[in-house]
Symmetry: C2
Subunit: 341 residues, 2 copies
DNA sequence: CCATTGAATTGAAACGATTCATAATCTGGT
DNA sequence: ACCAGATTATGAATCGTTTCAATTCAATGG
């Protein structure tokens, strides 16, 4: 049905090998032949069959990307950066969301293994990386995204979440808040733990400061709203003076609940810091101060690392990229507060 | 290197054909053989090579999806719906964003053609569909998403954008606004044209009503903000009494600019209607009234149509699904306004 | 006990691009 | 005219799976 190299070869009066060479190493073919074959390819509308090419090559020209939540703007940006960079290098990206479920993650990995992806970018759901070890041993480079492997046994591109938590908490302390609330969860998520940890380390070092945890079941606007309602319902004296939310979706939910309650002013009564600096943090009811992660850059860098590792083969040096997040100050923590030096 | 059916066959003492049968039609193989082969597959860690499978089958088990902007929440939802429905039918989705660029779109189509995708879902950048014709003639079903083909030569799943524009404008007229501004562009985008057209048809029918166009270079918050600044800078008497933005991102930008200018109150001085009803429209400074498109449903339906068309072969009947959008009223057009019957 | 049927299994052909050892052709130097 | 060396071109083998006509085997009925 479809046109194959054989058809092109016949029509151009050359061998299939030559057609393949025109496609892949034109320098090896005489200019006149290149023109002739190219013309025939154009005329017949020949399109390479990637499956055959892959079969011969042993691996595909696409990467697998497994994110925790495809609809989270942070991962959207990571995906965007990765897709961009991959496309520039002639690769495509197979994207899938694990939605925090181990079985979804497993199914995606099955799929990607069958496709013989040239590399794997993943934000793993769990800390057990044994499956990833096996995949790498089978020859597929693996790069962890937004998640350092404690033991550096995998290359990774991540953001220093502990430092991010520290930056957020310090900002609130600098704004003279002492009783701080942390909204986030579930604690199974490493990023949540790390951000909390950073905040705790700051609070612990300041006499008179305290940190209260308001747990959530997911990192969503909905869960944030629920937490915000819980906080608004507290007697005024028991409410925290500031809240650090584990991501911006939560922060937006918290903000909505606080504002709608009518009992709490932001930032006067409660200052609020989010995390991720998604595009919409800026356009919330009160623009939200947030800790920005260079999401697009993370996606791009992850692909770069993957390309290098694929190039270098199984004994590649592991690279640990750690970006440092930075505070983007907005109205939710008041204007004119001194920025931390 | 990797384990193949041949290895499994040798180890289990059967032929390769039998291994393949165990994998694809276990009913044809005796139970005892199934168990034995399955056990060997497990033990050797055999993983099917999808490239070989595809090569034999002639086409892949994935669909290509080309959206205009992967970061736009509307398309995220479409993608989500498509992925869901595809997975339910044993297909995966290759997603790519054209970012409104003809060359990006071309590269993605090249890639998808080489992958021999089983079908193509696309929101085309331009109105020239000749390339899509060729693809379909080569045997790949094509479904246009969020974009009707005027001549019905392609199946499509879209929303009636003209009607959407009408609904938005009528809502503003009902709120006693007469001088209406339209923020949107570039006009090359069909959706923008249609929404404008709908609004114009309503305005034209109301004596004393007028529509002024504020062009933008893209459908982004940034461009919306720029347009909003232009509007805020106008002398009060020359400002429109209401604004219809071609999508919610623009509307959010406009809103930010108006509010930050300090000169304009929303909705008192200027009422605002957006389009798409993205999740964040609700959590803007002033919750934004918007025209909602059933995005997830669109993605699902598009896959359904694609499946039917793939089933029916080249002479399939073209289906034109047109959803009607509906107004979601919020504070940006004032509370308690009468909803249109 | 043979013939017939049906189930289970086999093994070679096919899919289409790439590779690589080999062959053909061309250069220019003597 | 001849040859060495460089440049081009060839085509069979290969990748791993699926398919399908052919074969084997066992069971059933006459």
């Amino acid at each position: 049905m479809a046109i194959s190299v054989r058809d092109v070869a016949r029509e151009a009066g050359v061998s299939v090998g030559t057609v393949s060479n025109v496609l892949n190493r034109p320098a090896m073919v005489s200019p006149s032949t290149v023109t002739r074959v190219t013309e025939v390819i154009e005329r017949l509308g020949f399109v390479r069959n990637d499956a055959a090419r892959q079969l011969r090559a042993g691996r595909s020209r696409s990467f697998g990307l497994v994110v925790l939540d495809a609809r989270n703007p942070f991962f959207m940006d990571v995906t965007h950066g990765a897709q961009q960079r991959a496309l520039d290098n002639g690769y495509s990206v197979l994207m899938g969301a694990s939605d925090d479920s181990v079985s979804n993650e497993g199914r995606l990995l099955d799929l990607f293994e069958e496709q013989r992806v040239a590399g794997l970018l993943i934000s793993p759901v769990r800390t057990d990386l044994s499956r990833l070890w096996r995949i790498r041993e089978a020859g597929t480079p693996v790069v962890l995204v937004d998640r350092g492997s404690g033991d550096q046994s995998f290359s990774s591109v991540s953001v220093n979440d502990v430092e991010g938590g520290r930056i957020a908490a310090q900002h609130l302390i600098d704004a003279s808040r002492r009783r701080i609330g942390f909204v986030g969860g579930p604690m199974e998520i490493e990023q949540v733990r790390h951000r909390l940890e950073g905040a705790q380390s700051v609070v612990a070092a300041v006499p008179g400061a305290s940190l209260e945890i308001f747990g959530t079941k997911a990192l969503s606007v909905f869960e944030g709203r629920a937490a915000g309602e819980r906080i608004a319902a507290l007697p005024a004296a028991r409410r925290p003076e500031a809240i650090f939310a584990a991501n911006d979706l939560l922060a937006m939910g918290v903000l909505q609940a606080l504002v709608m309650s009518g009992k709490v002013r932001v930032p006067e009564d409660i200052a609020l810091v989010g995390y991720d600096d998604i595009a919409f943090a800026e356009s919330a009811v009160v623009p939200i101060t947030s800790v920005r992660q260079p999401a697009v850059e993370i996606g791009r860098t992850a692909v770069d690392v993957l390309l290098r590792e694929a190039e270098a083969g199984p004994d590649a040096v592991r690279e640990q990229f750690v970006f440092t997040p930075k505070l983007v100050q907005r109205a939710s923590t008041g204007a004119g507060l001194p920025a931390r030096p």
